[in-house]
């Protein structure tokens, strides 16, 4: 596979090295001449010391025969343009962009970037998963954002522990459909008795959240 990596920062540098090690054909574009030379000294002449946003240099780098273009610079606007040029001007089948501002993800997706990697979002998600959660965890928004996929981690003090879904007062428009116990997911039946440590997965309208919180977590809502 021929992969064109644009951006010779830490991400681009290690990505290029790993790709070479895996046996792929790689070209790396880095517009800063000193940085490009530094990388070229180490990994050879596959480094192109030009701006990967500029049409002329993208063409020279062989983007019209690239299988993948990975735009991993530190600037979202550059990564967007690299992917759009690759996709629409050079017909590259697969474009991957690093997105630093998670708010840009939707725009990038809408504008046709095939895959988005957002380190900010990933770190954020990791932090939210690791913190002992006494709250509902929002997994995803569904439909036109009126539905939410929610996880509730049952702990001591939860009114749901020792009870089954049919004994709970679950609001209309909301459904508890799965439970994760000891890492195993199974459908949640009306008579499944819930235990401490269970993760209950629910789908519900946004406005049901407060009631779900009351039933599954207990106590007062800290976060809206």
């Amino acid at each position: 596979m021929f992969v064109l990596v644009v951006g010779g920062g830490k991400v681009g540098y290690y990505l290029t090295k790993e790709l070479i090690e895996a046996g792929h054909e790689v070209a790396l574009m880095e517009k800063d001449r000193a940085r490009a030379d530094q990388i070229a000294d180490e990994i050879g002449s596959i480094v192109i010391a030009h701006d990967g946003c500029e049409g002329k240099y993208l063409a020279e780098a062989g983007s019209n025969r690239a299988d993948v273009v990975a735009a991993v610079t530190g600037d979202d606007e550059d990564n967007l343009v690299i992917c759009q040029m690759a996709k629409h001007h050079f017909d590259v089948p697969r474009t991957i962009a690093r997105v630093n501002n998670p708010k840009n993800e939707e725009l990038f997706r809408h504008l046709g970037v095939d895959e988005l990697i957002s380190p900010t979002r990933m770190i954020l998600a990791s932090i939210e998963q690791d913190i002992p959660v006494h709250e509902l965890l929002h997994l995803a928004a569904l439909g036109e954002n009126e539905l939410e996929l929610i996880e509730a981690h049952l702990q001591d003090g939860s009114p749901a522990v020792g009870r089954a879904p049919r004994d709970l007062d679950i609001p209309d428009g909301c459904s508890l459909f799965a439970v994760i116990r000891d890492g195993v997911a199974s459908p949640l039946r009306p008579d499944t008795v819930l235990a401490v440590g269970d993760k209950v997965i629910a789908i519900g309208r946004t406005e049901c959240e407060e009631m779900l919180h009351e039933q599954l977590i207990g106590g007062e809502t800290v976060r809206g």
């Binding site: 500029e54 049409g55 725009l107």
Partner: protein, 196 residues
């Protein structure tokens, strides 16, 4: 018209003042407040400090209600991203991006942005002065296509957008250089009162 301009350089500032004098409601954005020193004291529009590639900032500057959105910063990609945010995500009706790389300028005209390429414009101005034929580079190009998937925010709905050339980058594309991208919409100079 509601007009949002990103980048308060020489062109941005002068353009903002021209539109302001013409009776339009103008918001000009720049990342640096010092850039606003270029505006004269009589400028009646609004100057907003902020990053033109940040959706929240553009929203605050009124890009959602913009009839015309023009990105004139020194960065081609910043201009591209700002106009795509404004046109595709926020629904600004007509967008223009300054893109000095002729290849990108042509490519983005195909993706539905009116593009302004200083490189092509200047070369052809010089060529015209010397009596030489035009370069064939993009100058001021009207959109020649739509972004795939972006059809829900067509440029300037209900108005014919004059497409100067079916094959951008061909020799007749710069013929549009001296003319506005879309002469179909003359700017009314007195129909709008300022909402200051």
């Amino acid at each position: 018209m509601n007009i949002v301009i990103v980048g308060c350089g020489r062109v941005g500032a002068a353009l903002a003042e021209t539109f302001d004098r013409g009776g339009h409601r103008v918001v000009i954005l720049d990342i640096s407040t010092r850039a606003f020193d270029r505006l004269s004291g009589s400028f009646g529009g609004e100057a907003v400090r902020g990053d033109g590639t940040d959706e929240d900032v553009l929203r605050r500057a009124g890009a959602e209600d913009a009839d015309l959105f023009i990105a004139l910063t020194e960065g081609d990609n910043r201009n591209i991203m700002a106009t795509q945010l404004a046109g595709e995500a926020l629904g600004a009706r007509r967008v223009i991006a300054k893109i000095n790389d002729p290849v990108r300028a042509t490519a983005y005209a195909e993706l539905g942005i009116a593009t302004l390429c200083r490189t092509g414009l200047m070369i052809d101005a010089i060529n015209a002065y010397l009596g030489d034929p035009p370069s064939g580079l993009a100058g001021m190009s009207a959109p020649t296509g739509h972004h795939p998937g972006g059809e829900h925010h067509p440029q300037a709905p209900g108005e014919p957008v004059e497409v100067s050339s079916a094959t951008p980058g061909s020799a007749d594309a710069p013929a549009a250089a001296g003319a506005p991208a879309s002469p179909a919409e003359p700017m009314p100079s007195s129909t709008l009162s300022r909402e200051a």
